[in-house]
């Protein structure tokens, strides 16, 4: 479970997040939408402990990640729009490295399982720099869930993917959610994959402007415009 209370983050005179409060229950699938610069990435990076808030509190599974990171890190998986993979290593070497960092038990079996799940087992020994964007993103998902996190934070995972790669990623995320993973995904625009989600939270200029059920995907674009304004949504 994720609990965010009164979160504020400033970069100099610019306020990126302003009094953001949010709860995400276990196994919930939440999409965080908002235009570019709304504060979505900043929020996700704080939840992943890659940045510290200026004020406010964050609890993940009841623990403060900034005080108890060693315990909290096992329950968080983070997929950024950068893959966090090393192009000069093969897929297997990347996963083996992260498995050692996360101290995953029976790592080779876990890596085999994930490479099959993301359909990269036949290219596992190729250098990642030779992979397509879609393949890199699938491998990045495998990296993010390698240690069996219960919360998966996804920052613009569909960015730069073609429709086939997007569909493949959606199937993968759907499977992970069915396995019990809590999903919190950001997007700067309404995406077709919204059908995956139970709930939508809209951010605009660092503030939560909507928090409710995802509703009918066919009317989502109109509702999105009403939350963030037509100019911002364009």
């Amino acid at each position: 479970m994720i609990e965010v209370r009164g979160l504020r983050k400033s970069f100099g005179s610019r306020t990126a997040l302003d009094d953001v409060s949010l709860s995400v229950a276990d196994r919930e699938r939440v999409m965080l939408v908002g235009p570019n610069g709304a504060g979505k990435t900043t929020l996700l990076r704080i939840l992943a402990t890659l940045g510290r808030p200026s004020a406010g509190s964050v609890l993940i599974d009841g623990r403060d990640p900034f005080r108890e990171w060693a315990k909290v890190r096992a329950s968080i998986g983070f997929l950024s729009h950068q893959t966090l993979l090393y192009g000069d290593l093969s897929a297997r070497q990347n996963l083996r490295f992260y498995a050692r960092m996360y101290q995953v038990e029976d790592a080779d079996a876990r890596i085999d399982e994930l490479l099959r799940r993301v359909d990269l087992h036949q290219r596992q020994d190729d250098l990642v720099r030779g992979y397509s964007r879609g393949m890199q993103q699938r491998l990045a998902v495998a990296r993010a869930v390698l240690h069996g996190p219960t919360v998966l934070l996804l920052d613009e995972p569909y960015s730069g993917l073609d429709p086939i790669a997007s569909e493949s990623l959606t199937r993968l995320l759907d499977g992970l959610a069915d396995d019990g993973c809590t999903l919190l995904l950001t997007s700067h625009r309404p995406v077709a994959e919204g059908r995956l989600f139970d709930r939508v939270v809209a951010l605009n200029r660092g503030r939560v402007v909507h928090d409710g059920a995802f509703g009918d995907p066919r009317t989502f674009a109109d509702r999105y415009r009403s939350w963030v304004g037509a100019a911002e949504a364009a």
Partner: protein, 221 residues
């Protein structure tokens, strides 16, 4: 913690084994520098003993900067050090792992550089006391370089920023290393150049302590 440090070191060495980008760039620079200095200056006899330590440490400093820049760029290409931050128990692990891998690459280069400089400068660098000074100097350089590379990684002109930040900071280290090396080449013992050795040891310890104390703030800024 040791397993994580070992994982970072193994990862960096495996990546370098695939590409040989860092070592080949450093080796080309070092060989070119040694050849250029040896042909430009008459480094035989007393002149050689006086000038060779400066030439050696200038070469080490610039090849080291080259290696650190590339090592930093490799992390940047993968998304900065966010992946390491997510996966490590403690930010110190990242610092120690990266510093060790930078140190190993510099030491590998020096295994080639010292005999090469011995041949071209006609001065014996391949002796235990000089090797000790080279190792002490390289430890300090890799430590300071790794900390500053972590600062530079988030700046716009990161590969330019690293030498601008690093080279002034390592002046005390280079002075100590050059004087200690020069003294040893003149025939002094390690005890007789002890004050310079102390500077190197104190620099290494202070820089390590400063880096361990500040690294988490640097990477989370």
């Amino acid at each position: 913690m040791l397993r994580q440090i070992g994982a970072i070191l193994a990862k960096d060495l495996a990546a370098e084994l695939h590409t040989r980008e860092i070592l080949s760039a450093m080796a080309v620079f070092a060989i070119t520098a040694v050849l250029t200095f040896s042909f430009a200056l008459d480094l035989r006899g007393a002149t050689g003993e006086a000038a060779a330590p400066g030439v050696l440490w200038t070469t080490i400093a610039f090849t080291g900067t080259l290696g650190l820049s590339r090592s930093l760029a490799r992390e940047q290409e993968s998304g900065g050090i966010s992946g390491l931050m997510l996966a490590s128990e403690d930010r110190t692990v990242i610092f120690v792992g990266k510093a060790l891998s930078n140190l190993v690459l510099m030491l590998l280069l020096e295994i080639v550089l010292l005999p090469l400089a011995t041949i071209f400068f006609d001065v014996n660098f391949v002796r235990p006391s000089v090797v000790l000074i080279v190792v002490l100097g390289t430890v300090g350089y890799a430590t300071a370089g790794t900390l500053l590379a972590a600062i530079a990684v988030n700046t716009r002109a990161r590969e330019v920023m690293l030498p601008i930040l690093l080279l002034p900071l390592v002046v005390p280290l280079l002075l100590g290393a050059v004087h200690a090396t020069a003294g040893l080449l003149e025939g002094l013992t390690l005890a007789e150049v002890g004050s310079w050795v102390q500077i190197l040891v104190v620099y290494d310890l202070l820089m390590t302590a400063a880096a361990v104390a500040t690294f988490s703030y640097v990477v989370e800024a």
